[in-house]
């Protein structure tokens, strides 16, 4: 049973602040009479302001997540999981025990083991081994929690990207960001709760940041840089921006007249949504305006992916819950079926500065403690060749890292076998990962459910265990 407490009164004020700006007395009064907040484990979301802040199940460590997704599959044996045995047996046939691995394009037993050309350095006090193509990230080693034992069994891009993003290889489920928005609501006054950035098209399309069966309000909002970071944020050229308030006032006059005699909270919510939309028009361009950063900060992050990381920090500062950045896609992908060495090095070079800058900047501003940073692809790559010098997809064992948000820095969790084919020690699957991410937000992955087609759906389906070892 939900009882009123001082904390819920606090939330009520937050919520009113969220929806209340510019409302007339009538609308406010009727908003007040209506419950706009529910516990995260209530089965049904309120129709009225479904983004109202909601308390977590238990005390959270993280308030926001910046999720860096490497589209195409970074090679673990070339980045965070050095394999001396691979160098020792370079060019030889893989042992029989790996012959049954089901890969997309290659047959393991017909391939040769292929050594990495990366040089690994033990970095920081923790001595975490990081490849030479990530020189700046090497400086942040003690912030990183590297998981070397990630695994699943989906070996194609599209379903694997779905799996990482929504917990299922099939379309139709809700993404992590959507679950977070649903579970916790929004703390951003004038911005969406879940923001997405991507430079290139993704294989599965925009559904991977969708809300699936959750209400559409929880889906990610893709933004770019430039004058239109959020769709329809400025009036068409032929309409003058300085006229908009007058037009909106007229609309709201008519809407208030209409709502006054109808006593329908949905109509009141609609009036509020127009005010939030109006505020977003000025707030969103400001949030992505990097001209407001110092030259030193902009230099720290660099261009391209770095700029997106900087925007992510600005969004998190402004209360956005989940920022997802997709790197790669199309011809600029991590999918190195040929020329693995140069291809991976190029991608690593593109993200190194941004990743390191983000961690350093968040740390310096005191934001890293409650901002979780995630770096992963949809799978790793084979220790064996594809063609002359490529690597095939390998979901059976690969690496990723977490930082901040209450995870254990300077720590390596789990291991693959000697050659890097399969997760061998302390394996972590996608559901374990998602259970852990939700846990850091104070959400119990078994209690965060949505009733759909007669079943209570979860991000983690019927699986997942919080990986306690990676928590600080």
């Amino acid at each position: 049973m939900w009882t009123e407490s001082s904390s819920s009164l606090l939330r009520r004020r937050d919520w009113l602040r969220h929806v209340g700006g510019g409302l007339g007395g009538i609308a406010l009064a009727s908003l007040l009479t209506r419950d706009g907040w529910l516990r995260a484990d209530e089965p049904a979301a309120p129709l009225l302001n479904p983004l109202a802040p909601r308390p977590p199940h238990f005390a959270p460590k993280a308030r926001a997540v910046i999720y860096l997704f490497m589209h195409g599959g970074p090679s673990h044996v070339d980045t965070f999981d050095p394999k001396p045995a691979l160098t020792a047996f370079d060019g030889q046939s893989p042992p029989e025990q790996f012959h049954d691995l089901k890969l997309q394009f290659t047959d393991v037993k017909k391939q040769k083991l292929m050594a990495s050309h990366q040089t690994f350095t033990r970095c920081g006090q923790s001595g975490i081994e990081i490849c030479h193509s990530l020189p700046r990230l090497q400086q942040c080693a003690d912030e990183l929690c590297v998981i070397r034992s990630m695994h699943h069994d989906v070996f194609n891009h599209t379903p694997a990207i779905w799996l990482l993003n929504s917990g299922s290889p099939l379309p139709g489920r809700a993404s992590l960001g959507a679950w977070l928005s649903y579970g916790l609501g929004s703390t951003a006054d004038n911005l969406p709760a879940f923001v997405v950035m991507h430079a290139r098209p993704l294989k599965p399309g925009p559904g991977v940041w969708g809300s699936g069966f959750l209400p559409a309000v929880y889906q990610g909002t893709p933004i770019g840089s430039g004058p239109t970071p959020i769709p329809h944020l400025t009036p068409p050229a032929a309409l003058r921006e300085d006229h908009q308030r007058a037009i909106l006032d007229y609309v709201q006059d008519l809407n208030r007249d209409h709502a006054a005699e109808r006593h329908d909270s949905e109509l009141d919510a609609r009036i509020a949504s127009y005010e939030l939309a109006f505020r977003m028009q000025s707030a969103a361009p400001e949030a992505v305006d990097l001209g407001r950063e110092t030259a030193a900060t902009r230099d720290l992050y660099g261009d391209g992916f770095g700029e997106q990381c900087l925007i992510a920090r600005r969004l998190v500062e402004r209360g956005v819950r989940c920022v997802q950045i997709y790197h790669g896609g199309d011809s600029e992908d991590w999918d190195t079926h040929g020329n693995n060495e140069s291809g991976q090095a190029k991608r690593l070079g593109e993200v190194d500065q941004g990743c390191a800058a983000l961690l350093q900047d968040l740390r310096q501003r005191g934001l890293l403690d409650d901002t979780l940073v995630v770096w992963t692809g949809e799978f790793g790559r084979t220790p064996t060749t594809e063609g002359k010098n490529g690597r095939d997809h390998n979901p059976y064992g690969y690496s990723m890292w977490l930082a901040g948000g209450g995870v254990r820095g300077g720590y390596v969790h789990g291991a693959t076998d000697e050659l890097g084919f399969r997760a061998a020690e302390n394996p972590v699957d996608v559901h374990d990962l998602n259970a852990t991410l939700l846990h850091q937000f104070g959400l119990d992955h078994e209690k965060l459910t949505w009733r759909h087609e007669g079943r209570d759906f979860r991000l983690t389906d019927v699986f997942g265990n919080v990986v306690k070892d990676v928590l600080a």
């Binding site: 479904p50 209400p215 009036p235 008519l254 199309d330």
Partner: protein, 733 residues
Amino acid sequence: MKTPGRLFLAVLAGVLAAGQAFAQVRFNRDVRPILSENCLSCHGPDAGKRKAKLRLDERDSAVQPAESGDTAIVPGRPEASALVERIESTDADEVMPPRKSRKHLTAAQKEVLKRWIAEGAKYEAHWAFTPIQRPEVPAVKDQSWPRNPVDHFILARLEAENLAPAPPAAPETLLRRLTFGVKGLPPTPAELMAFAAAHDEASYQAVLGRLLASTQYGEHWARHWMDLTRYADSAGYELDYLFTEASRYRDWLVKSFAANKPMDRFIQEQIAGDELWPGDEQAADGVLFLTIGPRRFEGGIQRTKERENEWLTDVADTTGAAFLGVTLGCTRCHDHKFDPWTQNDYYGLQAIFADSELQETRVGSKGGPGDTSPARLRVAPRDQPDVVQVLRRGEVEMPLREAVASLPAVLPGGGPLPAEKQRRAVLARWLTSQRNPLVARVLVNRVWQWTFGQGLVRTASDFGRQGEAPSHPELLDWLASELIESGWDLRHIQRLILESATYRQSSFSSEQARIADPGHRWLAGFPRRRLEAEELRDALLAVSGMLNPKSFGPPVIPPVEPWALAALRNTHWGPTKDENEWRRRSLYLVVRRSMKLPFLEAFNSPDTVNSCAGRDSTVVPSQALALLNGPDTLTYARALAGRLWTQSGGDAGAAVSQAWPLIFGRSVRADECAHALAFLADREAEWQKTLPEPEALPTTISPEWPNLPAARGAAWVEWCLALLNTDEFIYVD
């Protein structure tokens, strides 16, 4: 029993349906929901997950002594029943449901279970699986209100709740509601005037007949049905190539509804049109239903077995959801946890479809893994039905045993199929047989939902045990039997509903009703609703005079904004050449699985991967931004301003008087007129201050605006934009 009787009764009354004290505990109404929510995931139909071999959903099992010697339920003797002992236990290791399940029985729920056992632990079959029996039309106190039997059922419940129906809606409100509800479009001012002038029963009947006979009615209700059958014009996933035949299925839907095709035939054609009526072109288009599902495989992967399984999965799941209203999808991986469906039922249904195959011919294909050339679709009979395997966890790689083509065993007429060939024909006949308890109930419930915004069963595609019980079970069965007895005449059912006093109520419900029934379960008033995405766009086109009313044909590809295409890998987005096509009704716009059209998506257009049982109606700022700033809305506002300018001869007062009926379906009040004129004057003065070059005005593309002063034209466009953003336009009372 420890609880004093009087207190117990009070508690019980609170648990049971409000306001009525029932003499006896009823299994379906009172007990099953408690068992289903708290017990059956471990002690239910799923053999794989069953604990202690105890099954509580079947009486035979529940009253048998267990291995331990205890008996869960001893009918008539709660004190001897292990179930009672366990639910009342304070021992953390003994108590049921177990602590770690995080489930919890309230004191009132425990009392219901005890009393039910005391009264003999009588089980009932799940209501939706029992035969449809035509109930008596109930008596009501207020004889003057009901117009037809529908009203008797509704009023009987309202009277039991001590609620009064709302007064009748105003004629113009009723016409707007009716026109949107039947055609998905607003009434024209001329229609409004004619209706208001002769508002009697005969004219209502005439209007109803005219609306239901229109092609636009077929279009609007086809769009409803397309939600259920996961309609799309493309394959989805990575390649998302177009289907050339999908629009023939869409047109078949429009024609079927417009012609009032009997619903049994309507269903049969979709499941087995080719088998039942070989050579019949119409039937051949209906069965395209089976072909338009999503393709869940990636370029470069050519595993025929997986593709074949994905198709069988799609057609079995969609058939279960759309026609039977049950969630068979769960049984792909395991026996159903709450319903008596087994994996044999599910794969038995798949095996029915395995008498045929999905044939796809790519048109103009250059081959290769990235092939996005369109596909021609066809369902073709196989010489020998394919063998379907029951799969462990739905994995093609983990076959358990061969499936036998069969109809769900728990339903009347269920069991293995007699025929080796033409299996779909058997399924189609079984679905539409008089004995099938689900199909007619599910269908009339959908009609109710598409009329009132929510069904009598709100879980419209889940009539199983986890679904919601009907608010008016007798009305549901009465309508279902009426449907069957009328020869599956859908229009007859729609007339019954649309003629009813229930439908004609005002949406301004009393304060008492708002408090007692905020969810409109008892219908003491018409539930206000927001226009659905397609209705909203169609209404914008209609009131601005831009609508191209053309029906049928291949999907129209409208231009979309570059940011929307940016995330699409295989763009292949070539807008239809003829711009007039872009202004057609929304159901004729292309439905791409990998990218929803931005405006429609903002207003909750449906999922196209799975059958969609009902639309969301969210309220989010992105909708406001789309309507205020979206490129299309300005076009509509311009056209609307031009239309009003031409009609009024440039007279603002006349334009305001004409705008209200056109946009809101009613006449303008004096204060609203004054407000509008003041706004127009103010806007014109504002533009006058700094008048931009003509090409920068919002009015530039209207050649039909003779002698329009620039600032005034700009002001009119702003005013029209405002009107199109109002709730009165976006909502239907």
